[in-house]
């Protein structure tokens, strides 16, 4: 058992209870997804005001909704293509809102350097999702690169709770650039090997 595997298992215990409660109440997963993004907007608001601790707590609540929607959909047999699409679209709104909160904060502090770093991190975070979505319309799977959405969210929480958001933004930016590059290279190689196999 790895360290991160153990952390994951511990976190799953309370989440299982919440999933069971949502299933018992027959809450539709698309509603959970939507509530998640609304709460994330509140977290972005708190980030914009520089209230990192409050933002961290709100992010935990928001991401519980984000995490459980898929599991509740499975339990309720409510998995649908639209649900997957809705979830992906709403996730982008959640991601972008957190970055916008930070851009607002740094611009109100007259820190154009961190406005740029946050904007670039936002751009590459979005491109991380886009490159995978576009790649998977051409090849079967493109799950390479470290900085995916769960890593980004956990890093945001760590940055908020420990007041080290600048370091977190640097990590998100650098690793997102590599993730995007990784996905482009991987897709190129996969398509080339398919073309060579046909030839």
């Amino acid at each position: 058992m790895t360290f991160t595997g153990l952390v994951g298992r511990i976190c799953m215990l309370p989440l299982q209870l919440i999933i069971r409660a949502c299933v018992a109440l027959r809450i539709h997963p698309n509603v959970l997804t939507f509530v998640g993004v609304l709460i994330n907007v509140l977290a972005a608001w708190a980030l914009g005001l520089g209230q990192f601790l409050t933002a961290g707590v709100i992010m935990i609540v928001a991401n519980i909704f984000d995490f459980i929607d898929g599991k509740v959909a499975h339990e309720l047999n409510a998995v649908s293509p639209f649900g997957g699409f809705w979830d992906s679209v709403i996730d982008r709104f959640s991601d972008i809102s957190l970055f916008i909160g930070l851009i607002y904060l740094y611009s109100s502090l007259d820190r154009t350097d961190y406005v740029m770093i946050t904007a670039l991190a936002m751009m590459f975070a979005i491109m991380t999702s886009y490159t995978r979505a576009r790649a998977e319309s051409l090849i079967q799977k493109c799950k390479v690169g470290f900085m995916e959405r769960p890593e980004r969210i956990v890093l945001f929480m760590i940055g908020a709770f420990t007041n080290r958001m600048a370091a977190v933004l640097w990590v998100i930016l650098v690793l997102s650039i590599f993730t995007v590059a990784d996905r482009i290279i991987y897709t190129y190689r996969e398509l080339r090997s398919t073309r060579e196999a046909i030839a």
């Binding site: 360290f3 991160t4 390479v144 470290f146 760590i158 007041n163 958001m165």
Partner: protein, 66 residues
């Protein structure tokens, strides 16, 4: 890159061109490296507009400078 490269070069290559799953030992090492960077780097080195305190490395440097 695979055979001819030195060990540090291969480690860097595998870290940035990531293909490992979550909850593997490689993932653990990456997480530890990231947490070390976030928590140990003195905020002043990054010009952090919000952080307070100098962090563990900054504190050690301050102690050494006394």
């Amino acid at each position: 890159m695979k055979r001819a490269a030195s060990l540090p070069a291969r480690v860097l290559w595998n870290a940035f061109f990531w293909t490992y799953e979550r909850a593997t030992w490689q993932y653990d090492v990456m997480v530890i490296a990231i947490l070390a960077f976030v928590w140990l780097t003195p905020p002043s080195w990054l010009g952090d507009p919000m952080a307070s305190g100098s962090g563990p490395i900054g504190w050690l440097l301050e102690q050494a400078g006394r």
